[in-house]
Symmetry: D2
Subunit: 366 residues, 4 copies
Amino acid sequence: MSAAQHPSTSAPAPDAPSGIAVVGAGYWGPNLVRNLSASPDWELLAVCDLDQERAREVAAGRPVQVTDSLDEVLAREDVAAVAIATPARTHHAIAVAALRAGKHVLVEKPLADSVEAGRAMVELARQQGLVLMADHTYCYTPAVEKIRELVAEGALGQILYVDSVRINLGLIQPDVDVFWDLAPHDLSVLDHVLPGGLRPLGVAAQGSDPVGAGRPCVGYLSLPLPGGAMAHVHVNWLSPTKIRQMVIGGSERTLVWDDLNPQQRISVYDRGVDLVQQSVDSADRRTASVSYRLGDTWSPALPEREALGAMVREFAASIRGERAPATDGEAGLRVLSVLEAAATSLRARGALVDVAILDRPLEIVR
Amino acid sequence: MSAAQHPSTSAPAPDAPSGIAVVGAGYWGPNLVRNLSASPDWELLAVCDLDQERAREVAAGRPVQVTDSLDEVLAREDVAAVAIATPARTHHAIAVAALRAGKHVLVEKPLADSVEAGRAMVELARQQGLVLMADHTYCYTPAVEKIRELVAEGALGQILYVDSVRINLGLIQPDVDVFWDLAPHDLSVLDHVLPGGLRPLGVAAQGSDPVGAGRPCVGYLSLPLPGGAMAHVHVNWLSPTKIRQMVIGGSERTLVWDDLNPQQRISVYDRGVDLVQQSVDSADRRTASVSYRLGDTWSPALPEREALGAMVREFAASIRGERAPATDGEAGLRVLSVLEAAATSLRARGALVDVAILDRPLEIVR
Amino acid sequence: MSAAQHPSTSAPAPDAPSGIAVVGAGYWGPNLVRNLSASPDWELLAVCDLDQERAREVAAGRPVQVTDSLDEVLAREDVAAVAIATPARTHHAIAVAALRAGKHVLVEKPLADSVEAGRAMVELARQQGLVLMADHTYCYTPAVEKIRELVAEGALGQILYVDSVRINLGLIQPDVDVFWDLAPHDLSVLDHVLPGGLRPLGVAAQGSDPVGAGRPCVGYLSLPLPGGAMAHVHVNWLSPTKIRQMVIGGSERTLVWDDLNPQQRISVYDRGVDLVQQSVDSADRRTASVSYRLGDTWSPALPEREALGAMVREFAASIRGERAPATDGEAGLRVLSVLEAAATSLRARGALVDVAILDRPLEIVR
Amino acid sequence: MSAAQHPSTSAPAPDAPSGIAVVGAGYWGPNLVRNLSASPDWELLAVCDLDQERAREVAAGRPVQVTDSLDEVLAREDVAAVAIATPARTHHAIAVAALRAGKHVLVEKPLADSVEAGRAMVELARQQGLVLMADHTYCYTPAVEKIRELVAEGALGQILYVDSVRINLGLIQPDVDVFWDLAPHDLSVLDHVLPGGLRPLGVAAQGSDPVGAGRPCVGYLSLPLPGGAMAHVHVNWLSPTKIRQMVIGGSERTLVWDDLNPQQRISVYDRGVDLVQQSVDSADRRTASVSYRLGDTWSPALPEREALGAMVREFAASIRGERAPATDGEAGLRVLSVLEAAATSLRARGALVDVAILDRPLEIVR
């Protein structure tokens, strides 16, 4: 299936529900449990966490196995798939075990804690012929699906710049910085809506830790894109005002996604600047003559539905259709590559760093 | 007068008005003409522009000399001061001529088109014992004066980060990029409100020219500040939505300045994150325990008055008081130094560049 | 306990939970079931609805009696109280039966479908020495509690006007008009925050039914208050933009409650108009000399908590404390009186109608 | 020219400018002076005010006659038209004198201080074959012209309701109440955009004077319209928050005009409620089955131009075209009739009052 046909809107599969287990009953696990239980595509069979008390709470009286043994879960034949919602540093080991046991795997973002680990997961899934899907939840919101559609059909023209801001008073995480905590949301959306996915020419990162937390709490990413465009991401744990806004400037129209304005989440401005001509004047300065368009604004109606519901449906559909999901392991890997390059750039005081993984062929994992 | 006593609020001088000439009748000149004419501190004597037709229009029937000869203007004994509103690349020559003729000088932002030129102006003014003032107009708005006051009295605590956004559909300038066109506003405000002025540890700049204008139209500046804070500036000519917002995050409170919201330009949030303790855990990870405050929001009433009126009053007061104006030549030079470092960083693909001028003693100009 | 001591903030009762039954499993019933189940003050014993299927769904696996027989519920000795969430026209019969069976009663708004029915309920509760409480949920939100507190402590000064707007695209109800559907929210809040409760000098109502629904879909209420103030309510089922805003203008300050702005629900403006003097001029016109204050704006922090939880706690506390709840039957009756007067005004083409019930002593019901 | 062809967009007249005099140099006069001076259609010849000092200031060095004698102005043959910007109670006498002297007349809103006076002006102009125009400035803003166009072309469907709010901290006028001060704006816009003009079936007014100013400072108007719709206007001098918003609900779409949001002044919501069917059920209640549409929002681009410029152009065009202006004396009279009926309703405690003038033929004035 081509990327242009967005799989999540495909017809519901007629098949019987597949068995699935959730591994990890922390912050995100309960959401997966709730949505998988409510889905006609899935039969939730087990909840697995080292903290069995916590797992029992999350299972909440549902007729499912509660266990602290991953092996037990993977040994069940009726478990066709595993959804992993544990800390990022454990994703690789659990996913590899599950894939080796022949299970399809859904992994909470970020895909892993290193590109190397992520590559291994992607490659193993390919070898085994199993689905590896990244839970890039935002990509399944009606707003992002509409943005992807508008970009794909050329409504914005050529992308000129993307500016994404995600700031609020957030929990300072014990083991990840603000880039690894918040930026995967912005990066996964970029990967989903940019034609061809997120393939920046480099990454420059600036971060600061003004409260002495031991890791950046305020961060900026600059991502030069092919064709002269630039994407920029601002993530911040220390802002008392909450902003979740992405501006996508295009040669034809500009789109603003304000996720905190339910009455007008997406605005499309039929405005912009046209470069009329360009010349080199006598003083040897290059000058541009531009014209401005001031057109209408349009805000599409969006359906109200939960993104996670669409996400678990897509996981089921991709397994049945024997195709890659809309946010497959490689999408997760592209996001991971940018995060890792950002970490390198931070250590290099903000120098532009290559995102090497994107150009190298994937190696075989043994 | 110490910097802490903000001079623009001083009592009106009892003296007779001083004579002044405006040089440059382009975009900004008419505003200077209007405000100097209305000021009890000044008597506007001349408007000078190579385009005499344009100068006559701007003089608009006022009983002033209209001329295309700078020499004539500088030769007048009743002209005590000169206000320069010509293109930046001509500031140095005009200012040097005026200072040599014994005139006080007010210069439109940016102070000059290079740090070297700016340093020469600052040093010459010092030698001559004359006032050299940068027209950093925003610093004289009621909003910025209030911000400076709140920062100075410690209402925000220690500054943790500053994020400034100035974007709209703007004219693509024929000879300057978006940094030189828009960022002087943000940088001059930062210089005015940060204790000790704008003295970043370095500058990293990212810019892009997605429409092929020949110079950056979208730009980002990262400015690490002493003490672990970071200032960041986003300037953009291509955005159909207009945003002029600065967030100053402090250890005690956070301030948001939304210049396009006349009903609530400044909001002070009594919210933040407190670092309670910090330790190194068994896995050798540094962890922070934080608590969150969710307090009231407060928005101070601001008087309605024109910034330019306060600016020309400050110019007069500094001359009479034989003191530096609130936005003196050195303030202009600090802004210029950041702009020049940003240009260097751009050529270095975003590498962090030192702002050397800030540490070197000023040389004598001959 | 006096009305000034707001009971819902009293210390949690140390007693064992009391048994309660919910009657009515329609739109509102599930919310009561959920909150009563979660409350340490209550033990939910039964859910009663003529549609037993629906009742079973709402009980949702909780260990409670599911029945279509009110008599069975009222016969249980362990049921100390009944919460009624049936259509308004049935409130009177169910409440009277419950009160006669010695049960405390909580009734969804509006208290009844006529003042006469409501009076009978209030009087019977008084005779029986039982608590009759109106479920005016909005009165238990942190925002309204803060407003009540600010008004009570005189922060706003004397109330000059109240303007309340509650409009959105709403379900056209089959048996009530927009006044009876939406205005009870505004009126119960007014009753809660105005000193002495809602006691208007009259009611004038204007309504229209432009879509031919058979009852007003757009409505306006004008309520002259003692002392020259006026309250006004705009309710509308046909507006595609959603507004829930109440402005309370006071002689000292003005408060704006914007319930759809979670980041700044309440704003208090220290602004207003002061009548300085007043005279009769030569042309025999009365003139007023006024001055304007332009002061700061302040937005108090509000805790995040569910209003219904506080409401069911208050029901328990009033029973244990043998006192009237904050929103007692008489509060419900005052709201009902205004609604009934509004209906009379509508028939009289908007004429100002007395709210007679407020001055008459309650009669004994037999 | 039919009403559907909006005259203000007609081609500029090729004729020479006509002479005009401004009578009244108070609050509004300077705006007329400025716009008439700048207009190619007009030659400003005189400024007339009893306070000659004030008239001189307003003339501001322009080569025009400054006088306190209306007779002198009317005696000039080169004065073809008079623009009246004096207090409303003097409009009638000045307009009658000007019309009798054969001058076309433009009158600031409201047309006069009574319907009787206004009728006399309208009728005299008709007899004399002269243009009498009401300066309903808002009708010439790009926003209102767009609203009129959308309503006329049926984009909103049938008008269901109009809700207009115009509140801020305003000057308490010495001789008029808040209705006469602010409501002419809303009423003139209604008259301009409603098909057939503003012809309510009655007027009900509620006002209050909570500060003891001697006249209403807060006011509400309800205007039942033919076909079951209702218009409502809220005017308020005492609100510290400024709102200027009009919602026009239609059967097809709903339009919101937010005059204080320059970035999105007009929003058109393709949303609404459709009455699907209607029946009388067994309990003899009329029930309606409705469906809701949730469509896109659209915000048209509006040109930036000053309304007063378009207004004075229309005055010239109507004289040259020997046709009624878009806001003619009868439009002014319809607004006046509503204001007078509102005053009557206020005295009748809000009773619905007929707007008799609208149905009676105009009498001949002698």
